[in-house]
Subunit: 333 residues, 2 copies
């Protein structure tokens, strides 16, 4: 067990899409052998801005777990666990809230951006403001040292490490390790409409369970270069969603570079690049969709996977909680 520990996961607010595949799932598949990897179904965190709709959060637990298994996450090599069923995470969260000030949480750039994006204004749910402390609890409870995050989330890992240093200083012993944010090279995949964020609620996502027709329709409607009206015109590659997706999914780098050059010179129609992308996406999603359909016939198996992973995670997180409580010299019955 000397593999580096990775903690990652997803808020359970809906099924995953190809943006998740490009941004994180692919990387998780690569990490299954040489890392001790935990995938957190973050239903507790999902509630921080979905408390009005707990049913959505509940439904999505099985959806996200299905997506994990369908893309090839192997429960024998990756521990899939459910945040709400790991009480040590809540206990450490409450403890860590004493080691961070309100003004520090308010200064967190990720939180500031997300408060703006969600239109919370002054009426932020307290749980939302506090979630960096909860995330510190998640990361440290697993003693994770590697945390893959989007570029915009790097400040959250800095916040975690500040809490780690304060806990260690108070305990007088380095009981918790600092974590390192690993930011994927690929960056975040835009929506099919060219908007920065792909999301199911935004209607601009391609789900991992998308039908063949849905994939075709999404690629056909995809945002390209609005000034590229005739095949012979030179076309823009930057900001052209089809090329952004090809960058993420096309394994033939040389062929893609050649296609981009042709497109920029003129003589390549949008239909041609879309056909290429569609073929790649159909090829990527077809087996995922098939596995997902097969697995979804056996929800009891999915629940078993989550239950088993959560038991492993419970032992790990309870053990860390005990160590922290002892190191801080708190009362133990």
């Amino acid at each position: 067990m000397n593999k580096p520990v990775i903690l990652t996961g997803d808020r359970t607010t809906g099924p995953l899409h190809i943006g998740h595949y490009a941004g994180s799932l692919q990387n998780r598949l690569r990490c299954q052998d040489d890392h001790d990897q935990f995938l957190l179904l973050a239903d507790t965190q999902a509630l921080t801005d979905n408390a009005h709709d707990p049913a959505k959060v509940r439904r999505s637990v099985l959806e996200v777990a299905l997506d994990y298994l369908a893309v090839g996450i192997d429960p024998a090599r990756t521990t899939i666990c459910l945040q709400s069923h790991l009480p040590a995470l809540a206990e450490l969260s409450m403890l860590y809230l004493n080691f961070v000030t309100v003004s520090r949480l308010e200064r967190n750039p990720t939180i500031k951006d997300e408060i703006r994006a969600r239109g919370f204004g002054r009426d932020i749910p307290a749980g939302f403001l506090c979630y960096p402390a909860a995330q510190a609890a998640d990361i440290t409870a697993f003693k994770a040292t590697v945390v893959p995050v989007g570029e915009d989330q790097a400040p959250l890992i800095e916040q975690t490490n500040e809490i780690v240093r304060r806990i260690n200083a108070t305990a007088g012993v380095d009981i918790l390790p600092e974590a390192r944010a690993v930011i994927p090279k690929s960056g975040r995949l835009p929506g099919v409409d060219g908007k920065a964020k792909m999301s199911k609620s935004g209607g601009n996502a391609i789900a991992l369970s998308a039908s063949s027709d849905a994939i075709r329709a999404a690629v056909r409607a995809m945002f390209t270069d609005p000034k590229h009206l005739r095949v012979q015109d030179p076309g823009q590659v930057e900001g052209n969603v089809v090329f952004t997706y090809l960058d993420a999914f096309d394994p033939d780098e040389a062929g893609l570079a050649e296609l981009k050059a042709q497109y920029q010179r003129g003589g390549v129609g949008d239909g041609q690049i879309k056909a290429r992308l569609e073929e790649i996406l159909q090829g990527l999603i077809a087996p995922i969709r098939a596995r997902r359909a097969a697995l979804s016939k056996d929800p009891a198996y999915i629940v078993d996977v989550i239950r088993n992973g959560t038991e492993i995670a419970r032992a790990r997180t309870e053990s860390t909680k005990r160590e922290v409580v002892e190191a801080l010299g708190l009362f133990r019955l």
Copy 2:
């Protein structure tokens, strides 16, 4: 089990004093038979403004439990339990934080006053700002409907009930009862120096374990009426700490009324009223001190009492957590 449920308790930040006796312990003794009473050793809450000194919080757990038993709290009739060992409280706290906004917490008059009193300014620990949600978790986890609080704490119960109403509304069922703040008639006992707050750290308290000499010295030094210089002068009763204490502890109401009248007319020396108070306090504290000394020889017994009470409380609080999770329709493994 149709007795009304009371939740009360103390932050474990030091041994208790006669201010606690007058303000709450006396009342708890009276409630042991006709209420289902839970006493929470609030070590988690104590950390919200003592995270820098966890050792003090730890030591005080046994001290406060000793005080409870020494004054006559009977573990067979009152459940003494340890907050940090009830994970459902942390889990419900984290959940409730999603049902209250940051601005609502900041507007809480109790929190505003305490932030000022503690000199936190903008550097409030997040746990301190959030503790009304944690207190709502404590109260509701026991389904307590009666919560004895100081006058200044009544807004916290209103905050709890707001959360209760939001949870019930989201669940579509009245899963949690609202609680009623019960404010003791006696009010808060001032320090022996006349300052509003009696506290061990302020050096103006009489501990429940005070020696006979310490009681004598405290009463001798007690603030009376600074203008009452000679026995024959008329004296002030209002603001005279000796009389405030006599109001709290003298069982002979008629005799006390007569003494006050004499003191106001003139002819009663401070020595006389102090002698009366000292006799009463010596009589009150002597048996408490003796029981405390005897009990403190058997710390394993104290730990057993806490462990047994915490097990009873764990069953109760876990059951409420499950009910809330189910009523909200969250995922359950």
